[in-house]
């Protein structure tokens, strides 16, 4: 999977939880889940669970700790898929 495909999949996962449409339209690797998309921190765990289901991977506590922006989510998914 290339980066564009990965971002597209992540966008679909994130969409139900965003509270800032404008930031979501302009989503890039630098977009922050909480600061930019205003996702409630209680929903970050839903994004993590949705990512696990979508890519059939499991994220550990250490992975979760960094899951604050699109870039980190991409890096974590990529590293899990390459294992």
């Amino acid at each position: 999977m290339n980066n564009d495909e990965l971002i597209t999949k992540l966008k679909t996962i994130i969409a139900p939880y965003i509270q800032d449409e404008e930031a979501f339209k302009n989503l890039s690797e630098d977009t922050d889940f909480v600061k930019d998309l205003k996702i409630n921190s209680a929903n970050l765990v839903d994004i993590i669970l949705d990512i696990e289901d979508e890519f059939d991977i499991r994220l550990e506590n250490d992975d979760m700790e960094k899951m604050l922006d699109v870039k980190s989510a991409m890096a974590i998914v990529t590293s899990k898929l390459n294992k």
Partner: protein, 180 residues
């Protein structure tokens, strides 16, 4: 130093499903899952523990400026409406208030009464809610104060000379501010 966190219970009901597979395991320790399983109202217990973790995280990051997502390691123990949260070698004291509409927790380094001022919003826009909460806080404190953010988005009030640590929270239709 102070951290607070509010959970709007109807928003929690609408926007989260604590019963989805692996949800509890990702966020709560074995001991916390036990609190939830043995509670007469597991839903309320889930969000009480969550608000305690969030309030403690806000206090922790005032002392240790940083950003991360590790709610599970903020380990709660509760007694009545009070509790403590430990994270590594950090420990803080919590008081929680539960109503039929919301749950609010406040974290301090020493045991203290809950002091947060609750705000009920008439708007659902995240931006407008932030603005309302901010103006209520500044009205209370005096117009010579400004709301500022440190690195990692940590808020404080300043009049250019004196600084006060504060904590802001909003969720669903409710918000709250607390001044240390």
């Amino acid at each position: 130093m102070i951290g607070n966190d509010i959970v709007d219970l109807s928003e929690a009901q609408r926007a989260s499903n604590w019963q989805r597979p692996r949800f509890l395991k990702k966020l709560f320790s074995e001991a916390e899952q036990h609190y939830i399983k043995t509670s007469h109202n597991p839903f309320v217990m889930v969000w009480r523990l969550w608000s305690m973790k969030e309030a403690s995280y806000k206090l922790y990051t005032q002392l240790n400026p940083s950003r991360f997502y590790n709610p599970k390691e903020f380990q709660c123990s509760i007694k009545g409406n009070k509790g403590t949260v430990r994270f590594k070698d950090f420990k803080c004291y919590l008081e929680t208030k539960t109503t039929s509409n919301y749950i609010i927790s406040e974290a301090r380094l020493e045991p203290n009464k809950l002091t947060s001022t609750i705000v009920k919003f008439s708007t659902t826009s995240h931006k407008e809610q932030s603005a309302v909460l901010k103006s209520k806080l500044l009205n209370r404190f005096g117009i010579e104060y400004h709301l500022k953010k440190r690195e990692f988005n940590i808020p404080f009030l300043s009049n250019g000379k004196d600084n006060f640590n504060i904590s802001l929270t909003h969720h669903g239709n409710y918000g709250a501010y607390a001044i240390a």
